[in-house]
């Protein structure tokens, strides 16, 4: 009978330990949830910000055309103006 009560005491200690450990795990798991939501929101906003990357293709074309025009002007100026060494 004495051993039985000792076993009950051990079970009581086990119950307390189990509750402490599980509460710690639950607290940690719940603390992750808002962080994950924040990351998901940031990733979603980042994805929306990148919607404008398609406009880079337009920029690419514009830069090509601009450089071509500048090259044409440069060629004309090269003909019109004297070189520094000739002056």
């Amino acid at each position: 009978m004495t051993l039985w009560w000792i076993g009950n005491a051990v079970l009581l200690v086990v119950l307390v330990v189990v509750i402490l450990l599980l509460s710690g795990v639950l607290k940690a798991a719940r603390s992750i949830v808002p962080s994950v939501r924040t990351i998901a929101d940031a990733a979603s906003k980042g994805s929306k910000d990148l919607d404008a990357t398609a406009l880079l293709l337009t920029t690419q074309d514009q830069v090509r055309e601009t450089v071509a025009v500048v090259a044409n002007y440069g060629g004309s100026l090269d003909v019109i103006l004297d070189d520094a060494e000739e002056r």
Binding site: A40, A43, S47, A84
Partner: protein, 200 residues
């Protein structure tokens, strides 16, 4: 049943209940985390997909811009000479001459001449050359003086304050004539025929 048995059963039931409650709560929290991570993975996938071609496009843009910069720098150096070209660039963008031209590494070792901007450093130079010019009052390396609304005021402020912004406080001009409070020396030769040199 003895009391010890009842206590044992009660303790075991409590342990099982604690396990169930806490584990179920943990499972629910983990499910929320999983759902959140699914959203993250979806958005990150979109980011990867959208940013994939950016490198190639930006590289192409930079290549074209480099070609344009090389073209303009070459033309500028050819037409103005290395020194004047550096001075012009440094006049427009102070400090840019230190970096030099990309296609001309030797340009980094050249001290650029001081070429003023129109209406800015040129204004300072003109002010220094003018009457009552406040020499070294303003520094050409300072901020640009040009102002769309107050361009002339900026130039006038280079001169002493009393003469430019408060002309009404200047001394009156000297009075001349017969009624003048101060009579100057009368010269007898004024108004008479000019003396002629004797012919040899």
């Amino acid at each position: 049943m003895p009391a010890a048995g009842v206590v044992t059963i009660a303790l075991i039931v409590l342990i099982v209940l604690a396990l169930v409650v806490y584990l179920v709560s943990t499972i629910l929290a983990l499910q929320k985390i999983t759902n959140g991570l699914d959203d993250v993975i979806k958005s990150v996938g979109e980011i990867v997909e959208k940013s994939g071609p950016v490198n190639a496009v930006v590289d192409d843009i930079n290549t074209n811009l480099d070609a344009g910069v090389g073209l303009l720098e070459g033309l500028l150096v050819k037409k103005a000479g290395m020194g004047d070209a550096l001075g012009l660039v440094d006049g427009l963008y102070p400090g840019a001459a230190e970096a030099g031209f990309r296609a001309f590494p030797e340009s980094r070792e050249i001290t650029p001449p001081r070429i003023g901007e129109v209406y800015t450093r040129g204004t300072l130079t003109l002010a220094r050359l003018g009457r009552e010019a406040p020499i070294a009052m303003a520094n050409p390396a300072g901020p640009v003086l040009r102002s769309i609304e107050y361009g002339s005021l900026n130039a006038r402020l280079l001169y002493p304050e009393a003469r430019q912004s408060r002309p009404e406080r200047l001394d009156r001009s000297p009075v001349i004539g017969t009624d003048a409070p101060e009579q100057y020396e009368q010269r007898e030769d004024i108004g008479r025929p000019r003396k002629r040199m004797r012919s040899a």
